[in-house]
Subunit: 363 residues, 2 copies
């Protein structure tokens, strides 16, 4: 167990935006919510998965919706607690810890807000190892944990409990409908599970990884080193072993629509000195990067658009014409590349016809 | 307390279709579900509101969605019980009776299916005194009962609990979103209340009224009398005092779309011998009938399209070119014409600019 500091938070916001692979919402909003909760006297304790008792009840918390809406509809910080309390009341049991469902953007921060406001510890792990747009795309579900019952809270004290038994895709479908009618953003508590189930199904230590990666970028800048080299070196001894720049250039076009509760679209990056263009396709998160029709990186590997100089991550809703960027791809951990995992969040799950190819095998 | 017979059911199906004012779905489907439950050994006991103990827990049950979908997506008869059980589990209390939320079409029958399958009695009352398209449009809510928490069940064992506190319009908004994603039709349990609250807020004895009106039409046909005269006479000593034919003619056009979870549209009836057309506007139920722009009847009064010869009610989804019809308007009980009631389900609640005018004051 270790306590999270304000210093950690700034590094985590940067690292989580990186791991969020374009999605997960702007972590700055999340960081401000955590800081407000800390200013109110809260503390945040980070718990390693190995520190959990086998029967500890862990209830993950998160925001749901389109990141394009998160920036318009800023939460008060109480909604995540309301979702947790609604699920506790329905289960008739109290949570003993919370946890992120994804490591990315605002959803690395929401469980910290809940922790600071309730006194619960946060487990250093998550259910996506990155950000994904849909709730069935969690390693928890891939390895047999039902997401149901889940709770959804709006900002006006309203709540919804959805129970679709073992059918996590249907849970996603219904809860997205409710979230759209809550204005496109909601807070959720789902995949309630035991400490043993966390150890068996979660991607471990991704909060501390986010802090490490954010710090790596910051420290490289401070000593005027190349943050991309530093990132690559830092990743080498983690579960996210391979990091590489797959393209450099200028953002020349972005097409983005908030549709069916998601931010969907494409972005194009033109190379600085060659007549080459990279096309990015996203659904909240980047799904595939292609040059002249050839895949350079594809889901579930991470595709991160970073400022070409500072390596500051740019989320999909922040993409703008003229940004000078480097597109950095990162290999996902083996637990996210198993046949079971690829069936749930591999390319076909997003309607892509390309097969998954590990980024380290592509040049 | 009296037991409902198979004979009653056929009369009720006809009477409920009449009171459903074009909406509420085809009661024939509901009647078949009730008959199947009775054939399985069920019994149905009808309980007068005056027979309820003050603290008896009554949980109304119904179908939700567009009637155009009900005819495509026929229920098994178990879903209403599933919704009731989901709400009971959430409340931690068992229902002691069920009740219709509206008297109209299939929703006069669903509580009977639930009653036959659970052994619970059905209260002879409802929350609309007719059919309305939205859940906040219930006399229960008008007079202070929250619809929340409500349960929604799909046909695959999935359930949703929605709790928006006292905000029944928001409960409608969220539950409609879930129902659309359940395929456009669902089963619900809501407005859980005590016997005392039933007596204070429900429109009383509308199931027995439906049986009476259905029987009146049948018996008039059997003795070759005019069923419209018989209806008018039968209504005179009820809370629905005034019944009158406001138009006769042939259906010449129907425009109908299933949109946002509702069957919305217009129908036009051309007079037999004059150059006059009646325009009907509906959202599941008929809302207003106009001739040359002049209102002939308007919500919440009942506008019923009946076969011109047999007085068989025709629901909005059954309207077809060429049908020879009489449009019969019925005055609603005073409890449904109060300022509080008109604020919730008067013309303005449907976006109509006309003021409410009692049908008995219009010629």
């Amino acid at each position: 167990m270790r306590e999270l500091t304000l210093h950690d938070l700034r590094d985590l916001a940067r690292g989580a935006a990186l791991l969020g692979t374009g999605g997960g919402g702007d972590p700055t909003i999340g960081r401000l919510l955590v800081e407000a909760a800390l200013a109110d006297g809260g503390r945040i304790e980070l718990l390693d998965p190995d520190e959990l008792a086998a029967d500890t009840l862990v209830i993950p918390t998160a925001m749901m919706g389109a990141p394009t809406v998160f920036v318009e509809k800023i939460p008060s910080g109480e909604e995540g607690v309301a979702a947790l309390r609604a699920l506790e009341a329905h289960l008739g049991r109290r949570a003993e810890a919370t946890m992120p469902i994804e490591c990315g953007g605002i959803n690395s921060m929401i469980p910290l807000v809940v922790a600071a406001r309730t006194g619960l510890p946060v487990v250093d792990a998550d259910g996506m190892g990155r950000a994904f747009p849909e709730l069935q795309m969690e390693t928890f579900g891939v390895y047999g944990i039902p997401g149901s019952p889940m709770a959804i809270a709006d900002e006006r004290g309203g709540s919804t409990i959805i129970d679709t038994g073992p059918d996590n895709a249907r849970m996603e479908w219904y809860s997205r409908g409710v979230t759209i009618r809550m204005g496109g953003a909601s807070h959720i508590a789902e995949y309630a599970m035991t400490g043993e189930q966390v150890r068996r199904t979660a991607v471990p230590r991704t909060l501390s990884l986010g802090i490490r990666l954010g710090r790596t970028i910051r420290e490289a800048r401070e000593r005027h080193a190349d943050p991309f080299d530093a990132l690559r070196a830092e990743l080498a001894d983690t579960l996210y072993e391979h990091g590489r720049i797959i393209f450099e250039g200028k953002v020349v076009d972005v097409m983005r629509r908030t549709v069916d509760g998601f931010a969907r679209g494409n972005a194009w990056v033109s190379a600085f000195d060659e007549d080459e263009r990279l096309e990015l396709h996203f659904q909240n998160e980047h799904l595939v990067a292609r040059v002249a029709g050839q895949v350079r990186a594809i889901v579930p590997d991470l595709i991160c658009v970073l400022d070409a100089e500072t390596a500051e991550p740019i989320t999909t809703e922040q993409l703008r014409y003229g940004q000078r960027v480097r597109v950095f791809a990162i290999s996902t951990p083996p637990v996210m590349r198993s046949p079971e995992a690829l069936a749930v969040f591999g390319p076909a799950a997003f309607g892509l016809e390309d097969a998954f190819q590990p980024v380290e095998s592509l040049t």
